[in-house]
Symmetry: C2
Subunit: 543 residues, 2 copies
């Protein structure tokens, strides 16, 4: 189609008056301008307001520039959800640099790989992780500036650098005249995928996407101004699903949480009027199974966004009875965290609670800021029928899809091929347009030529009264090709045999889908609480 | 500053997978996908859902293209707040065309000027305005396609074209494969300023700004999903402050209102569960002064955004007692309607109600989507002290500043000079950063070398128990240069003399600021409820 110039294209150009790069950095400036005395951050006995938050972030940005950090340099942070990691979400990009929040459960070799691959110039390390980062640095030839955080709520220990975080801030100008990014497509952060096989890939976020998904969370959650947000979800996980920016846009309060434990969560809800948090289903499980005296009925409804894996219906039912209200979202590192939401319909309230939970376990519909979502044929990208049956790959497109993988044009090209982001997740579209994940491509079990969804089997296992945690993988089989193999952790004080578990599954699903093997014991997990299926697959192979 | 290429600028380009033009048109598509059966529009006995809304807008877009409308063509609509005007906010830009919603109070000559200047190709006219549009069209040489709306809630009358609006829709494909704009900088609408002097100017909005201010309203008002929004504010006024897009982004309900009358408003609140509306202070006044039997206590709090002029403290106090909760915003046509908000602080709740009202009468702080707001020297653009005293011009910058004025590069250049939009409004910045308007440049009175704010005098006049409406302008004076001249409308059944009014003012403000003249009678108003001060200035001159 030709696009001839019209009267609306003439003498109506972008100027500094009417065009500004979109960036979440402006949220901090506005919170400080409008609500300088409102509490921005709570951490143990510490508590500071938005004027202070802004001053500290400007100091950080200024100090980083004075130490030679430039546009496009990488600054890594290895810390739990404490104020310096929150401040890095602003101070680092305000210096023009790019934030790489490191997964705190990584081993030294992986950290060394990431610091090398990201060409990190400076790393900020919490005392608790000093040993592993020290070991990682010893594997790197080049010198990297090291800043130590001495968190009053954290453990003691020796610094590994020569500069303390507070001393670094003291080097910076609290009135630093930082600049917005020159282009909203500029990188704001770098997040390495956990990568169950091979080296992790560096997902690059830009200012535009961070701004938009920050607002996407507001629209999706109907988040109010001045919410009190508890930091259960790691900030290193997709930049805390963009909540360091979302909560700031609303001039809310960031309630830090160094250690994610049931008691600490219940205490914070009571002490700091927490209204919202995000958490993997594993955390919901932890709250449900908290010992008497720790678990308690909530003083008011607390809104929870959960994702990472489909929460089993029983978990959803039980957590809501305690006073939590759960919104189920779905996303990936490549789409700034959550990008799909199981948006609720008022008429579903009238359905039986098990049916409600089944509806809520679906992944749902696109965020308002994700312009495209479909289940399609992985080869042709042709959308598949919305029949709730036909399994295809989940594809996404829009402004909250990553810039790409750092220094990996081949992987970027493959991931974004055909104008869609290839999630690698398998799912179906229901007749109402809601998608439901059936499995990761590599998690599906093909037994006797039939596809079996491991998620479906896990859903049944979680309904067994003795099951605390469950994961299913393929076990190689001469006759069937593969058969389902279940790994199960039982609740304290309960017992169950392999035969009982298998019988329970056969009673509750098609017989061919029931596990042929059940292994009892604790499950290996990634740092973000995802079960490491590749470990289980190896175990299943070795059986 | 040089900007060398970094690792983050390499092989990480925009692709169709990760970059989509921002446009509010996507909100409609999503509302129809996710909430097809939810009520989208209510109008009298009519009521239709989001699936229907989307189908009708696609039909409109398709029919417009079939009738030859192309990208950048202008489609004008002359109608009150009824479904076809709402539909035009989507159907017209979905065809690539630009929507020009006409002020329904305009005279034929002005309409003719606008249709000529905007090079309108097609005009859609409600039966009530057929005579004035017919007269306007008779003054235009070229042929313009005319579509008549036959609103069942409107008056009878003869069509002036040969095509009915519903017949036009019937020509269109309900599954029309419309396209998002090629560029988010493309024009979405054209809004002529009311222009108290000279020809009106055509303010051009783009998709990016419309998208962002739609979300700005959500953030500013903490608007929830599925709100029920009453259409008191004309959609022709800055595209209804972007609410045709805001309410759709939240899959709320648009409750139409053909005639803005107190009874109709109270009835709609009751019948349709209205939660939100926007209105000029004049409407709030109308609700306060509604006769017994019409006015009633609200069943629940209704949120109101008000602007257009600073609401007098007494109006604010009285409307809130009825159950309305008022948020005061400020903006201009050039910034997509509201762009500044008097954001409330919880600690203000403890202040006496008169002080609260005075705080709320201030215009406030920038919207989160407006990146810059300042009171500055009109010549140098240097910001002025935040002392609540120093009067300067209000300047704005950011993504919700217009593209510019259509076919008027000189006015565009002047308005956006120096990287800021020049509002022409005068104000001060308070120590807390909140701005307060003191006057339009041309409204300030200079008496004996002292600047006198007409807004301040009006604020005092509104506190007089007999005053319904008040406006103050300069009256030429040999001795003083100018003196304040008040025009006052008294409430039914009350009386007051000129001497009493002047004495009341002298008791409540600096004597030199009190009016020297008081004229009683109705006040001339623009179609949007603004008092036409230029008419009063002429009257004052002739006294």
């Amino acid at each position: 189609m030709t696009n001839p110039r019209t009267i609306y294209d003439t003498d109506l150009d972008r100027t500094p008056a009417n065009h500004t790069p979109l960036s979440p950095l402006d949220f901090l400036r506005r919170a400080a301008q409008v609500h300088p005395r409102r509490t921005a951050v709570v951490h143990g006995a510490q508590r500071y307001d938005w004027a202070t938050a802004y001053r500290r972030c400007r100091q950080l940005a200024s100090a980083l520039q004075r130490r030679g950090l430039k546009r496009g340099d990488t600054v890594a942070v290895m810390a739990p959800n404490i104020p310096p990691l929150f401040e890095a979400h602003y101070g680092v990009p305000m210096a023009g640099a790019v934030l790489n929040a490191l997964n705190t459960r990584l081993d030294a070799a992986t950290i060394a790989f990431i610091l090398e691959h990201g060409e990190t110039k400076l790393v900020i390390v919490d005392r608790e992780y000093a040993p592993v980062v020290k070991s990682a640095l010893s594997q790197i030839k080049r010198a990297i500036q090291v800043v130590d955080i001495d968190d009053p709520e954290g453990p003691r220990g020796d610094p590994i650098g020569s500069l303390d975080y507070e001393a670094l801030l003291a080097e910076g100008d609290p009135d630093f005249d930082w600049q917005m990014p020159g282009d909203e497509w500029d990188a704001i952060s770098l997040n390495y995928t956990s990568g169950t096989t091979g080296n992790p890939k560096g997902v690059v976020y830009h200012h535009r996407g961070a701004y938009l998904n920050a607002l996407g969370n507001v629209l999706t959650g109907s988040l109010p101004k001045h919410l009190s947000y508890l930091w259960t979800l790691p900030m290193f996980h997709c930049n805390g699903w963009c909540y360091p920016w979302t909560v700031t846009a609303l001039a809310g309060t960031h309630v830090c949480l160094r250690r994610v434990e049931a008691k600490a969560i219940f205490d914070a809800i009571e002490a700091h009027g927490v209204t919202h948090f995000c958490a993997a289903p594993i955390i919901l499980n932890m709250l449900i199974n908290a010992p008497a005296g720790v678990a308690r009925q909530l003083p008011r409804t607390v809104e929870v966004m959960t994702a990472a894996s489909a929460p089993p219906a029983t978990v959803l039912e039980r957590i809501e009875k305690m006073g939590f209200h759960v919104t189920h979202v779905y996303g990936l590192t490549e789409v700034y965290g959550p990008s799909v939401v199981c948006e609720w319909h008022a008429e579903w309230d009238a359905k039986p609670s098990s049916e409600q939970a089944a509806l809520k376990a679906r992944q749902g519909v696109r965020y308002p800021v994700l312009e495209g979502l479909m289940v399609a044929d992985p080869q042709t990208l042709a959308p598949l029928p919305a029949d709730g049956q036909t399994i295809g790959e989940v594809f996404m497109r829009g402004n909250i899809v990553m810039k790409g993988y750092l220094k990996n044009p081949k992987a970027t090209r493959e991931a974004l091929q055909g104008g869609w982001f290839h999630t690698g997740d398998l799912g179906v579209t229901h007749p109402d347009g809601y998608i439901e994940l059936k499995d990761r491509s590599k998690d599906i079990i093909i037994s006797g030529g039939e596809n079996i969804s491991t998620i479906e089997i896990e859903g049944v296992l979680y309904r067994h009264p003795a099951v605390l945690d469950a994961a299913v993988v393929a076990r190689p089989d001469e006759k069937w090709g593969e058969t389902p193999c279940a790994f199960v952790t039982l609740k304290d004080g309960t017992t169950a045999t392999e035969a009982e578990i298998i019988a329970f599954c056969r009673d509750n699903m098609a017989h061919y889908k029931a596990p042929k093997t059940v292994v009892f014991g604790p499950l290996p997990k990634t740092s973000t609480g995802k079960i490491q299926k590749y470990v289980l697959r190896d175990q299943a192979k070795a059986l």
